[in-house]
Symmetry: C2
Subunit: 485 residues, 2 copies
Amino acid sequence: MFSDATIEQVNDAMIQSGKAFKTYSKSSLEQRASLMRAIATEIEALGDALIEVTMRETNLPEARLKGERGRTMYQLTSYADACEKGDWLEARICTALPDKVPARPDIRKMLVPLGPVVVFGSSNFPYAYSTAGGDTASALAAGCTVVVKAHPAHPETSAMVAGAISKALTTMEMSQDIFIHLNGASHAVGEALVKHEQAKAVGFTGSFTGGMALFKWANQRKEPIPVFAEMGSVNPVFLLEEKLSSDPAGIAKMYADSISLGVGQFCTNPGIIIGIDSAALQAFISFLGEKMDAITVGKMLHQGIADAYVQKAATILQHADVSIVSSSVDAASLLAPRPIIASVSATAFLENPSLKEEVFGPFSLVVVCNSAEEMKAVAAAMDGQLTSTIMATENEALANTEIIDLVAEKCGRIIMNGVPTGVEVCYAMQHGGPFPASTDPRFTSVGPDAIKRFARPMSFQNYPDALLPDELKSENPLMIHRIIE
Amino acid sequence: MFSDATIEQVNDAMIQSGKAFKTYSKSSLEQRASLMRAIATEIEALGDALIEVTMRETNLPEARLKGERGRTMYQLTSYADACEKGDWLEARICTALPDKVPARPDIRKMLVPLGPVVVFGSSNFPYAYSTAGGDTASALAAGCTVVVKAHPAHPETSAMVAGAISKALTTMEMSQDIFIHLNGASHAVGEALVKHEQAKAVGFTGSFTGGMALFKWANQRKEPIPVFAEMGSVNPVFLLEEKLSSDPAGIAKMYADSISLGVGQFCTNPGIIIGIDSAALQAFISFLGEKMDAITVGKMLHQGIADAYVQKAATILQHADVSIVSSSVDAASLLAPRPIIASVSATAFLENPSLKEEVFGPFSLVVVCNSAEEMKAVAAAMDGQLTSTIMATENEALANTEIIDLVAEKCGRIIMNGVPTGVEVCYAMQHGGPFPASTDPRFTSVGPDAIKRFARPMSFQNYPDALLPDELKSENPLMIHRIIE
């Protein structure tokens, strides 16, 4: 039913996208925002039919999908608002200084769109990071056309959402080539898209292996292009003693909920928890195991993800130094793997780098340190992360800045006394982080700043006002924030 | 006298830089700004002795070097001002919304430094893009430590400037490891620096070959790191008829000066000029040839650059379709090659991609089109550029938006009725452009926005005010611009 695009279809899509870019890149901020709002409206209009299809394709429950649909619409409309507000344009005006030696001409700068963006749908967010998800919304706001490769795990969902975008383009009387939808279970489709000369940037959320393949293809091109690949992480949680002692059961409950949320299929799932050995830590571990045993999780997204979960968890559990705290793999029902809590000494953890690897699913490894020094060593040994969390009283945090600095150096978002799951769509969100969490720590894929991934600054020197884009005209007709020098 | 750093010295430098980063990354904006101003003061204190050494090492004349020294000091002090002003931090505050479902925690974001930055000194800007140049100033402002590899063409100049930085660090009572200076004529030194795990970003201004070597090394690492390589371009100039007819001699004079400025050794040198065949264009070509013949240029930076100029110009002049308009290569004095103007038909230009290549030096190729359509084809065929220039009356520009759009799509800075040489150090400057002008069109190496190359956004979630950096505290003690949501 959903056959892969041929190489000819990929080439044709990229060429059409390049042609549509000539016009769409000139659209006003208001036109882009209207298109994005129209897409949100059309997605809503798909109603329960969309939810039903996605439930069947992803095993995700109705409430989660309705929430994610709302989030997807919010992304579209809030990025539309941000697009119109124009802070992302980084508009700067340096007026002429004829008396300076040498004379300074009038120079004005703003961000302009990069060109056609190739977006890869993710499996774990069938709406919010797929067809009309955050990457597509960012690209459209930037003034870029989009070619989406649907995730093969939910092709029907993707086709329905693509249909909604097509309707919105019709309503807006805009070219259908502004958004092109392709299927591609084969890697050849992705490779052809990324390597096509019309492609100017890539957006991706998924596995390390997948993201790195795109990154390598992009850098093998005659003209390398930016790839923003968000490749997940283990999101370490550091438990400081005073805070932990105050409520080990409450913290265990909070973490059991976070680890099992969405069957652990979030890139911000807390996969490693680090504490210093004490009665409180032992109580926490025991509570966490009990809470997790009591949680019934749903099916995973698809058999491939369930198989990978079982296999990766088994690899970690096979280590001689790792102990299972709770649960066991339910071999009879691999689509509904049990949540797993395990523990290991910091010494063994530091000696076995493979224990730092992400197990995508409801799995968490507690690392037991024998001192604050050992906790620092673990913090220093962590790879780049999307998030890291510190559980500490305020006094404890103020007394442990050294460990907090080590943790902060390795992550895009640092959380105090909370859980990493739950990624707010807002201006202050950084979703991305030092490699391998993402391919470029200087960008985010969540929040309106995500638009900047797909735009580049351009200076206009000695331009008469009539020729300048509205964003840079002297009278500031769009009323946007600009730095004037 | 200036021997290459050994691999052990490179490793040691990077490790020391990594250690110093732990402290320097925590310095206040004011401390960084004070350091940068102190460096400018120490460079000035080197006085004429510095100018004399650089004249000997680079063949550049006194007036040019004094101007460049002033520009270098201005970069340091104006980026220091920008560092303190804090716009580059992109601070955003999203306060908690406890009544939202799910509740939104307090989230605040700002840019934080990437880590130790490796800076490669350029040959053509011995001050402004070398040891204490724009890359070093950007990195220090961002809160990054710096390891500079001196350009082997001016090692004594580089050592003197490094000495000035060392003095400034002493005055400021800061670690000497914040800035480390190494020599390396061998590529092995550069490769070891870029591939060292402590290196977190690279800044470079120079040739395509050099920039791409760094880019590849950076992407071969286990942890790829961002490289900003500004690799030059041919900076095409498009002459529209009405404007050209109004003053062919004046425009020719303006361009003869721009092409020969600094013996053509600027990355913004106008290397290709495109016009539509007419009496005015023929008059322009003839005037340009005459003006160039009358110009006496100085020696080039070093023998290698002079040899490359002669060889690259000869390669272009050997094309059967290319005619020499003015001058000839003076084989007797290769260090002072003559300026060269040549011309070619657009048909031949479009058929021979090698004619698009940069000839670093006082060389320009006039491309003669037989129609506006052919000019569009030439515009579409251009590679990515640092700058492109349009010479047009306002009416002509308004009537030719199609060609201007084609030109704009390929460049970082578009100039109306001016010359591309002369890169203002200001907020609105974009110095960078679509590949191959630079490795990432989303960043600039000139102007305070250059700081952003070496910083990454970081979110602080649910942080008590006492633990937040001053930049994000609720009372805004640093009085910086922040987006509040």
